[in-house]
Amino acid sequence: MSKLLEVKDLRVSFNTYNGEVQAVRGVNFELNKGETLAIVGESGSGKSVTTSALMGLLPKPQAMIKTGEILFEGQDIVKKSNKEMQKIRGKDISMVFQDPMSSLNPTMKVGNQIMEGLIKHQHMNRTDAKKKALELLDQVGIPHPDVRLHQYPHQFSGGMRQRVVIAIALACNPKILIADEPTTALDVTIQAQILELMKEIQRESDSAIVFITHDLGVVANVADRVAVMYAGKIIETGTVDDIFYNAKHPYTWGLLGSMPTPDSDDEELFAIPGSPPDMSNPPKGDAFAPRNKFALEIDTVMEPPMFKVSDTHYAATWLLHEDAPKIEPPDSVKKRMQGFARTRGDK
């Protein structure tokens, strides 16, 4: 597998009136060609800030990258100027945003919005760009592309708009596609279509996808590898099977336990108590400790390092230390990890 992107010890802070907010506190991960990495976490866990950093889209001057490297094909993106980033953005790395309503220009015809990148990055002339735009609209499953090309975003439904956004993102055959909650604003049936579309495109173009979401169902559907973020850090990472069937971090247990399964009607959901910490004043030790009923004494003093579970699976919790007491996940979570009973209609 070839490494496409490598993020090393990324730290991002925002300067606000309340002082420094540490949104991302030392994130490490890598992305290989053709794979899908899902980043999961609550709002405020730093997942969107991480990807904004990848795109060079952090708001300046409030946000600053304090340390860290983002190596894209061996080159450090952090050190690049805005002009240099413009050449990468939309060409090598492109992005699909959550809300298709606000990420399209309402005063521009859809066709022109797709052609913009082609003309700029691939130096196509208008005729060729138009031909390619038609192909793209067809590829993302929009019927009558020749008519649709000349329409404005408001003439499209939510699902169709998101398809247009994906067409724009795919226009220059990016090596990395970053999708920031691309289906959160859509209905389940439309969501299923968009996810299928993204997987199909990935199979054809072999691009890598970074998929940000908080919906674990979606993660199970699209991801090859998963990184769970909490309070600006990746606290557990592994293959999708590692995370869903053999989770080690209590926070991941909590996320899994808080989703109902088709046959969990009577038991109480295993909710994570409390709310996420204030990142302008991050707690000492393990940030999750105050909400963690399995917290050990050391959690309040020292931050846990990443412990290795297997070659693909790492988790940052003191529970994995050899001196820690053996703690089993709660029964309801264990049941989920053993696989879900399929009580669906399509038995």
Binding site: E42, S43, G158, D187, V188, T189, I190, Q191, A192, L195, E196, H214, D215, L216, G217, V218, V219, A220, N221, A223, V240, D241, F244, Y245, G254, L255, L256, G257, S258, M259, P260, T261, P262, S264, D265, E268, L269, F270, A271, I272, P273, S275, R336, G339, F340, R342, T343, R344, G345, D346
Partner: protein
């Protein structure tokens, strides 16, 4: 077991006029009953009319046609002030977006006590404060939160304030319109656990409106599926998941991703094709098995029955 019907919705219609000659039939001929002490889940895509149904039931909209009977009394139509007060006290609502449904210029104390004042449920200031503090504790907040403003709270906490406000007048029936959609996953579980606990402690009846089917399945006793203003299938929640009959229900169920990679690798999505329906007569909601209703024509009913027997 004979259960008492708390709410009966009969042929409810809500049409909106759009432009000069266009009418949007947001809710078109919807009928269902809600029994005392149960949770009825209403599911559908955006635009299916589920929220409009909830809002029409509680009189936020005037119904175009049809009846809503609450405890046997008609909800709509002309009412005296006393009658309205009595009705409002029994039926309350929890809204989707906890930040826009709380007045930013009122303290939590005043927000929760507003209902108490309207219905003259407290004698003096001390009792008012004590009552609010008690409610705050019921929903898992602190007494000291009473003097704060909504912006000082997180989304999950704001939703708890919304729930406390609904509980203040001791209603028997609560309409929860997507109460958890705007919250984070871990907070969703907290709020759902709270709603379930309140139901057990106080014998509340819920109409739970949402688009997240797995959460609805978890909280509801019975589920109604809406599509384009019509109720297409109503049944006990296990029945809906085990024996979905209407093609739209099947497609909706097959579209939900579950947090189980193994299942996801094999999941096949069924898409809904509205042209499969028999058009020889106007479809209507027909009972196909005990407590299981499907919107269909008489021909389709026979088909579904064969399917159900298999």
């Amino acid at each position: 077991m004979e259960q008492k019907k708390l709410l009966e919705v009969k042929n409810l219609k809500k049409h909106f006029k759009v432009g000069r000659n266009k009418i949007v039939k947001a809710v078109d001929d919807v009928s269902f009953d809600i029994y005392e002490g149960e949770t009825f889940g209403l599911v559908g895509e955006s635009g299916s009319g589920k929220s409009t149904t909830g809002r029409t039931i509680i009189r936020l909209y005037d119904a175009t046609d049809g009846q809503v009977l609450f405890n046997g009394e008609n909800v709509h139509g002309k009412k005296s002030k006393q009658e309205l007060l009595k009705f409002n006290r029994n039926m309350q609502m929890i809204f989707q977006d906890p930040s826009s449904s709380l007045n930013p210029r009122m303290t939590v104390l005043d927000i929760i006590a507003e209902g108490l004042d309207t219905h003259h449920l407290v004698k003096d200031k001390a009792e008012r404060k004590a009552r609010v503090e008690e409610l705050l504790e019921v929903v898992g907040l602190n007494k000291s939160h009473a003097n704060r403003f909504p912006h000082e709270f997180s989304g999950g906490q704001r939703q708890r304030i919304g729930i406390a406000r609904a509980l203040a007048v001791e209603p028997s029936f609560i309409i929860a319109d997507e109460p958890i959609s705007a919250l984070d996953v871990s907070i969703q579980a907290q709020v759902v656990n709270l709603l379930k606990k309140l139901q057990k402690d106080r014998g509340l009846t819920y109409l739970f409106i949402a688009h997240d089917l797995s959460m609805v399945k978890y909280i509801s006793d019975r589920i109604g599926i809406m599509y384009l203003g019509h109720l297409v299938e109503v049944a006990d929640s296990d029945e809906i998941f085990n024996n979905p009959l209407h093609p739209y229900t099947k497609s909706l169920l097959s579209a939900i991703p579950l947090p189980d990679p193994e299942y996801e690798r094999t999941r096949k999505r069924i898409s809904y094709d509205p042209t499969v329906h028999d058009t020889s007569e106007e479809p209507k909601l027909r009972e196909i098995g005990p407590r299981h209703w499907v919107r269909c024509t008489s021909k389709e009913l026979e088909q579904y029955k064969i399917e159900l027997d298999k």
